[in-house]
Amino acid sequence: MATAMAATAAERAVLEEEFRWLLHDEVHAVLRQLQDILKEASLRFTLPCSGTGTEGPAKQENFILGSCSTDQVKGVLTLQGDALSQADVNLKIPRNNQLLHFAFREDKQWKLQQIQDARNHVSQAIYLLANRDESYQFRTGAEVLKLMDAVMLQLTRARNRLTTPATLTLPEIAASGLTRMFAPALPSDLLVNVYINLNKLCLTVYQLHALQPNSTKNFRPAGGAVLHSPGAMFEWGSQRLEVSHVHKVECVIPWLNDALVFFTVSLQLCQQLKDKISVFSSYWSYRPF
């Protein structure tokens, strides 16, 4: 049974040869593959290249946000790289058959922090890989494991930024710069939030009504959430407010979907390389490679 103990000198020589091949050839082949995939991923984020500079405007994409359950809210958002450059939101209020329309001020853009962070994490991963090109000779397995850990950390963070939108409290949404982006200004009984969830661009519109000071309702401020439910309460200024209606509309961003697939594939490649290296650790457990 005790494989390694009984390994003959010849077996050992073969194993060592295999390990050398792994370190010198296979590792670089995987790293090259990883770089290719991640460069594809970062192209999706329209990274500014060092050669061309940021001067050229990133291309604009329009997304029509809707929902199958409601047609009360429609949004057309324009994405320019990691920033929202235009937004048109239509809100139908059935109570009085009123149609509200508001749009972004022309001079302002709203940065989608999740996309920027994900993009920066990917470029950090690419940077780590670029530092270890073909000319670099790996001397130990531990070195490869360390590199893979560092790359995987960045990729996991990139993925998590897209898959975990910020949980905000209602006062935080009210105080956010996004509400000040609109012209004419948003009515005081509306709150708007925009975020990325997985591969989707999401827009939520909260309709509010003020709680009467003599209201018998038990006032309990809501905590942080990605999506608040009707009935959530909060204090804003000197007023107590309650969410009466919540409208959520969304739209798939195809390139975010691609990017997420690239992250998953890259993470699997990294883990497989780690596993290959680790196989040899059981043969040379005493050697700090």
Binding site: S50, T54, Y136, Q271
Partner: protein, 652 residues
Amino acid sequence: MRSSLQAVALWGKKAPPHSITAIMITDDQQTIVTGSQEGQLCLWNLSPELKISAKELLFGHSASVTCLARARDFSKQPYVVSAAENGEMCVWNVTNGQCVEKATLPYRHTAVCYYHCSFRMTGEGWLLCCGEYQDVLIIDARSLAVIHTFISSQSPDWINCMCIVHSMRIQEDSLLVVSVAGELKVWDLSSSINSIQEKQDVYEKESKFLDSLNCRTIRFCTYTERLLLVVFSKCWKVYDYCDFSLLRTEVSRSGQFFAGGEVLAAHRIIIWTEDGHSYIYQLLNSGLSKSLYPADGRVLKETIYPHLLCSTSVQENKVQSLSFVMGYMNERKEPFYKVLFSGAVSGRITLWHIPDVPVSKFDGSPREIPITATWTLQDNFDKNHTMSQSIIDHVSGTGTVGVTSSEYVPSLDKLICGCEDGTIFITQALNAAKAGLLEGGSLLKDSLPYKVLKGHHQSVTSLLYPHALSSKLDQSWLVSGDQDSCVILWNIFTEEILHKFFLEAGPVTSLLMSPENFRLRSDQVICCVCSDHSVALLHLEGKRCLLHARKHLFPVRMIKWHPVENFLIVGCADDSAYIWEIETGTLERHETGERARIILNCCDDSQLLKPDSVLPVASETHKHKSVEQRSSSSYQFGPIPCPGLQVESSCK
């Protein structure tokens, strides 16, 4: 009476790992501070003769340290701030090693800069921070609370590095930063103090695109008050601070990556690389020459040529290629030195005394500046070998066998140690500790009874004493797993092997037991996690393997039990969840993303595994599980001097 638990960490002959990720020297040049991947800080004495010796290990961070900085005017208060990957920040008094303040913020900092303006500012000053978030955070140096942010109006992005520029001419301070996209931005610092305190928005005064990525350092030349040195990973550039015009670009050799730099004197700079080399240049002024960009309105523009004077390099390490963090410290007043310092992932610190006037050789070729001092934690351990005895050295005979796993059984007063060579020692815990720690303990050593269990052929990676977790289980049972995925069930009283399980799944990384409420035909089962990411369920009474779940692509991070449905839920490092039906051994479901998160959060009897279970490292740093659990409640920040190091200071 309130009982407090004192945690004592014992290290054997091998120093604990300290992979340096950040390094600084205090202003009084008496202490070197290093931060490590393991989360600990180490304080090192630096003697007037530039001799290094480790003083204290500071425990406070639970993640890798990302940066260190001064946190006060050092002559008044010897405080240093450290930040970690998980957003923890600690302020330490480096004289006594106490943690003065701590906070956990949802920000990952990569650089911190202390700023204080005595005549305009009340309080202890600001910590200007940048990292994996937009723009620059201003944090109160005393309370570690976020005061405000310096925000960008133009292309806000993460900031890579920053420096504070104090202009003697206009008596104003500015903050210079470079973003990840390569944009240089300048904020007024001293004149914005009021606006910041009143929480008004402060936007950058100027910004300029530098046309290079991965900026590592930005430095202002205080001697000329004109030159700006910006180091990128693939080039370094010199700019004119007056109009940010480019005076020189120097590109790195292939395979070489710059990591930082500093201005040594007027027209003299030092640049260092990731692999631990440094180069000192004299910047020669070419006078006026044709500009490269005559279109910008200026026909004539001076340029600068670097002339290599000296270089330094670390000792060549044949076995491992390492990365280094480096820094440079200018002398303040006599008898302080100009010191270049580096810390390596291996834990080694190296110092170079840089001469006041570095010169090249007579023939004009660069001179190599020799290493002045170099030291590691291990050097301290080797120097004090009298104390560095492991707790089982006296029983293992040769005294060189590394302990790879351990288990403490308080009810039997037994310490069980699994070793590198496959043997398992069982000794009396308190007496062993006494013999190892207390004076006169050496007498105990020879009379200390112990047992040896021989059955494994490879190092023992994991131990479990089931009775400690469930009193219904047999007191005599011990389960051990090894590097070769062999799991043995022992009777520790008779020292016999009751059963051997061969799993063929790589090293056993951990052994767990199903909770009380989970029973299979009235018996609890053992869960064995292996390094090929598989999970095996072992039935001890039946001496058989119930299930070997082998589909996991990523390392196992969490094990959950669903008693009602008879499911085993396995959470993996990629945040996915695998649901196995125990009776049939089939994979019932595989979920990722949000659904996986919900499934993993549903039952709370989860058993978390160590985040990194790649290679079991042979060392004495294994804490005993039971101590670890209890100590977490009374966990305090503060210095833990290691025994080897303590002896040294008391010898003086």
